[in-house]
């Protein structure tokens, strides 16, 4: 079976990869950037100083909420830390008689408490949250459709990886082979090297990615065992008994003290604080441990009495399978990873993006040789070829444009955060159109070169136009901000280098071989073409 099995899997690998390849590229690239979600949340609000004393911020948040919404139905506070721009707070007003409680958090019921402990207004931006959401919710499409599409793409990816392993019989030998400047061979080697180098990562990230959406993609095992879904959730996610509002005023205890006690009991930092019926004698404070401090995404939580500050309830030890699923989700998001491991995650993600991109380019390069008339390729071929340029070069360009929009759009602009995002997609649309009217070789150079220039110029602008320039941040020891600037700069250089290589490449037409005018750039294995 060995040979024919491998051939069948080779076919499967090519087609499952191609069909959703561009979508996978978006997912991979956005997910890779989203590993810096928290860092980007800060970097895209350069006017906010770093949080030095989280407890001051927390006390400020409580003070603010007590003044603003003393008899709210609930308060929600993200625990501030030096990795976050501040404490993000939300509150939910008491539902009026006969009115359904609002499920969405409105703009008028949220605020950001900055380093000083007072409410601050930063430029309106979605920051790193955009990449995180885009990674599985996409944009401009209903969320449910998007998640099914992403789930399908992930499933295809899993199949493409498994069949890819089968296809490459010399998987380890291939990894050490990188034939530079040899057109199709180089692309294949680049594809193989980035794929094999990070193979365990790709397999892990794809499978655990499916697991993050498992309740939606694979609800069938629940259906098999439970007549009602809620009974399953009750069994897995235990919750304390709900309490009725007593309508007896009682001041809320100091949250700082409760957090200190909870951190001692849970053995790690607190991530979220949820307070129901603040200011009432029935107030309850729920604190859950931060996902940054443990592998499993199923974080334990504690409930305190809001009036007395006594601990009332502790989430039970989760079962083995719950912890397994939680650890898989945790592995996927990488929130537990410290700086070093975060970088490995990021670089593996870059390798994955390059793997998808080079696979798509390989498809074109391989088929060009087999075309009946290479000078006039058929429509399908041209479509893939042009879309490759527009999308694979368009997303990095769009990201660079979005970062610039984040810096340059006027602060008072209506729907400013939305327009940052629109900028990204407008740039992709422009790239696709540009790729259709220019020769692919030209379009690659222009788009990649523009991306490189835009990215390299950003840190320079930050030094002049924002209070958080590179040297100022290094002097303050703020390595999140400085690191973001440096990373952007290095990526700019890398995109510039790739553009240069493409522009210098001369196709091997003169050598009496099959004509190939595609810029097979012999991209070195780890060149980040994110």
């Amino acid at each position: 079976m060995s040979k024919s099995f491998r051939q069948s899997q080779s076919f499967l690998h090519t087609w499952s990869g191609l069909v959703l390849g561009w979508l996978l590229f978006f997912i991979f690239a956005a997910g890779t950037i989203a590993f810096w979600r928290e860092g980007l949340n800060r970097w895209m609000r350069p006017e906010l100083p770093r949080v030095e004393q989280p407890e001051v911020v927390l006390a400020g948040a409580q003070r603010f909420l007590q003044g603003k919404a003393p008899d709210a139905k609930s308060w929600f506070i993200t625990m501030p830390s030096d990795r976050l721009p501040g404490a993000q707070i939300f509150w939910q007003p008491q539902p009026k008689e006969g009115e359904k409680p609002r499920r969405r958090r409105g703009r008028d019921t949220q605020a950001l408490i900055g380093a000083s402990g007072d409410a601050v207004t930063a430029r309106d931006t979605r920051g790193g949250e955009f990449f995180y959401r885009f990674h599985f919710d996409l944009h401009y499409v209903p969320v449910i459709w998007a998640r099914w599409l992403v789930g399908l793409a992930a499933m295809m990816m899993l199949v493409a990886i498994l069949s890819g392993i089968v296809t490459h019989k010399k998987i380890f030998k291939d990894f050490f082979t990188l034939r530079r400047g040899k057109g199709q061979r180089s692309w294949l080697d680049g594809h193989n090297a980035t794929a094999v180098l990070a193979l365990p990562f790709h397999l892990m990230i794809t499978y655990t990615g499916l697991v993050t959406l498992m309740a939606m993609l694979m609800p069938w095992a629940i259906v098999a065992n439970y007549a009602e879904r809620d009974r399953f959730y009750d069994a897995v996610f235990a919750e304390p008994e709900a309490v009725e509002r007593a309508n007896q005023p009682a001041p809320l205890v100091n949250l700082v003290g409760v957090v200190r006690d909870a951190e001692k009991r849970l053995g790690g930092p607190i991530g979220y604080i949820d307070i129901s019926e603040p200011g009432d004698s029935s107030a309850r404070i729920t604190l859950s441990r931060s996902g940054t401090s443990m592998l499993s995404a199923r974080v334990p939580s504690l409930v305190y009495d809001g009036a007395s500050g006594r601990m009332l309830w502790q989430s039970p030890e989760p079962g083995g399978a719950t912890v397994t699923a939680g650890a898989m989700v945790g592995l996927h998001a990488g929130r537990f990873a410290d700086a070093g491991l975060r970088w490995i995650y990021f670089l593996c993600g870059v390798a994955g993006s390059v793997m998808v991109a080079s696979g798509m380019v390989l498809w074109v390069v391989k088929r060009r040789e087999k075309l009946p008339d290479p000078a006039r390729p058929h429509f399908g071929f041209r479509l893939v070829e042009r879309s490759n340029v527009g999308i694979l070069a368009g997303f990095p360009l769009g990201t660079a444009c979005m970062f610039w929009a984040n810096r340059l759009l006027p602060v008072g602009m209506q729907d400013r955060a939305q327009w940052e995002v629109h900028t990204l997609f407008l740039a992709i649309a422009f790239s696709i159109i540009y790729a259709c009217v220019r020769r692919p070789a030209q379009a690659w150079v222009a788009l990649l070169g523009a991306t490189g220039a835009l990215l390299c110029a950003l840190p320079v602008y930050n030094m002049v136009g924002t209070p958080s320039g590179l040297f100022a941040m290094i002097a303050q020891g703020d390595y999140v901000m400085a690191g973001a600037d440096l990373t952007v700069f290095v990526f700019g250089l890398a995109f510039g280098a790739v553009a240069l290589r493409v522009s210098r490449y001369r196709p091997a037409e003169k050598r009496k071989r099959a004509a190939r005018s595609v810029p097979a750039t012999a991209m070195p294995a780890l060149e980040p073409a994110e």
Binding site: Q9, M155, S163, I222
Partner: protein, 86 residues
């Protein structure tokens, strides 16, 4: 074309049905078994899709997957008939 049909919708169905069957027959706490079966079901989907392309002919792939899915469905159905759901 037949293989694609066998791989995508049928592959998902086979994985899901075996996920259901596993959730019924594995021993242990129901909620934990349910999660374990769900985790395994994704791998089963992938293997079913690979089989759809590895089989000697598209029809063969189609029928074997239909049979596999039917088997899992029967196990689930019988098991629910006997012990019921929670």
């Amino acid at each position: 074309m037949l293989r694609v049909l066998a791989a995508v919708p049928l592959g998902y169905a086979v994985g899901s049905l075996w996920g259901m069957a596993l959730a019924r027959i594995l021993p242990g706490d129901r909620s934990q078994v349910t999660i374990a079966a769900t985790l395994a079901a994704f791998a089963l989907c992938a293997f079913a899709a690979m089989w759809a392309f590895a089989a000697r002919s598209g029809w063969r792939a189609f029928w074997t997957l239909l049979l596999m899915g039917g088997l899992a469905g029967a196990i689930t159905w019988l098991s629910i008939l006997v012990t019921g759901r929670i």
